[in-house]
């Protein structure tokens, strides 16, 4: 790759990378918010709980690509037409919500039941116990997996290139085709993903160190 080609392509790639970041942020928000009610429904049980369970199992049982195609191509004949960016955000959001619902559920269950009982004995209602006691303690537990999910989501957005959504992978593919330089442009794209992901991965590792539960240590004198 000559220097000129590199310099010419860079602005396009940076704009596309911005698209990637936007898609990641929006999908993450969607997933994080939608995941919570699903988790709570799951924990509550009953018919709604079973529905939530079904949702999680079905969405997580298929590839994200399949969900993407279903939403982008499969809904069109039924009258729902979304542009590629929106379809991607919706698909990743729905997929992420199913994943994060399980993360939330595990985090909530990890809070010792004795905490709940203590709250109840103080006269707190169930919703208050959840809000004041359980959820605040569940937050440190779920932060590392959420961080890991964010990194995974960043990488998943590359899939949206397959429906021509405006993100980094699509742009590198175009450029690779234009200049007949697939190796260079895909390596370049890879490097850009690395640069975007690395700060997030670093932050996740710090979160894990702060919040990870201590392993059993043998006593030593």
């Amino acid at each position: 790759m000559t220097w000129d080609i590199f310099v010419d392509s860079l602005p396009e790639l940076l704009v596309a990378a911005l698209g990637t970041l936007r898609m990641t942020a929006l999908a993450f928000l969607f997933a994080a918010l939608l995941g919570l009610p699903i988790a709570i429904l799951r924990l509550a049980g009953g018919a709604a709980g079973r529905l939530a369970f079904l949702y999680v199992e079905i969405v997580r049982g298929m590839p994200a690509l399949a969900l993407l195609f279903l939403i982008y191509y499969g809904l069109a004949p039924l009258g729902v037409v979304l542009n590629s960016f929106t379809a991607a955000v919706v698909a990743f959001g729905l997929n992420g919500a199913a994943y994060l619902a399980e993360v939330y559920r595990a985090g909530i269950q990890a809070v010792d039941s004795g905490q709940r009982e203590a709250g109840q004995m103080l006269g707190l209602r169930r919703s208050q116990v959840m809000r004041e006691i359980t959820l605040p303690q569940a937050v440190p537990v779920v932060l590392p997996p959420m961080g890991n999910y964010l990194v995974a989501l960043l990488k998943d957005t590359a899939i949206a290139s397959l429906i021509a959504a405006p993100e980094l992978m699509l742009r590198s593919r175009d450029l690779a085709g234009t200049y007949y330089l697939p190796m260079e442009f895909y390596l370049l794209a890879g490097a850009m993903y690395l640069i975007m992901a690395w700060p997030m991965m670093h932050m996740v590792r710090r979160l894990e160190r702060r919040f990870a539960r201590g392993r059993l240590q043998g006593g030593a004198t």
Binding site: G218, G219, A220, T221
Partner: protein, 274 residues
């Protein structure tokens, strides 16, 4: 402080630690310790937490590399070998070879949870000494019988009490026919009523003539079994002598202070509540 019983025709020295120092970070946990143990001798090491007694024991086993000084077992340095006139680090394989002659019993037992009691005891002989199962099994069963657990041979560790696990651990070490047994606070992690059964096994072992280096908090046991008691504090050997003298009439003030604190606590347990 040099150690060793003044004897006329004393048995040969089996363990010789010279100038042993172990540093962790900023702290010298073991400071310039000399220790010798003769064949058949039972040496008890006592002292407060953090005095370095466990670290000293682990240096003898070479589970910790000394910062300076060395340990020799039966005349052979463990961890170092002489190559062209210079001391070089031993390979993992060479150290493993020396360790076949040493048995170690840990505070947390460290039984292998995926193996039955019998399999735990047979593992060393079959995998390290390369014995056949037919050779190793009767010996293993015999050892389990010796520690009173023949009927538990097919049980997994999770089914055994702490005292039972520790006895299996002792049998496991004995299966290698070591000439030296190291005990790292073997009863400290046990419920009080289970301590006795393990101490009894250790007593039998002592009576059979095993050379033993025992780090312990059990003062009565140390007095009964040990030929020599070593008192450590802040990484150094501060006092040592025969059990009767050290326990009944200690001369060193730190020894006195330590024993007073321990004895007071034990007296509290032994005095019946009224």
């Amino acid at each position: 402080m040099k150690s060793g019983p003044t004897g006329e025709s004393a048995p040969p020295v089996l363990v010789l630690a010279v100038g042993l120092t172990k540093r962790f970070g900023e702290i010298d946990v073991v400071k310039d310790v000399d220790l010798s143990v003769r064949v058949g001798e039972k040496v008890a090491i006592i002292g407060p937490s953090g005095s370095g007694k466990t670290t000293l024991l682990r240096c003898v086993a070479h589970l910790e590399r000394p910062t300076s000084g060395h340990v020799a077992i039966g005349g052979e340095r463990i961890g170092e070998k002489l190559v062209n006139g210079r001391w070089r680090e031993m390979s993992d394989r060479e150290i493993a070879g020396i360790r076949t002659g040493i048995g170690m019993v840990f505070q947390r037992f460290n039984l292998f949870p995926h193996l039955t009691a019998l399999e735990n005891v047979m593992l060393g002989p079959t995998r390290v000494l390369k014995q056949s199962r037919a050779e190793a099994e009767p010996v293993a069963r015999g050892l389990l019988h010796k520690v009173g657990l023949a009927h538990k041979a097919a049980d997994y560790p999770e089914k055994l009490s702490g005292g039972q696990q520790q006895r299996v651990a002792i049998a496991r070490s004995l299966a290698m026919q070591p000439r030296l047994m190291l005990f790292d606070e073997a009863t400290s992690a046990l419920d009080p009523e289970l301590i006795g059964e393990v101490l009894n096994v250790m007593r039998d072992l002592a009576r059979d003539g095993m050379t033993m280096l025992i780090v312990t908090h059990e003062m009565q046991f140390a007095e009964d079994v040990a030929d020599r008691v070593v008192f450590m504090d802040h990484g150094r050997i501060v006092d040592e002598g025969r059990p009767r003298e050290l326990f009944r009439s200690p001369s060193h003030p730190r020894t006195q202070a330590f024993l007073r604190a321990v004895v007071d606590r034990q007296a509290m347990i032994e005095t019946p509540a009224s």
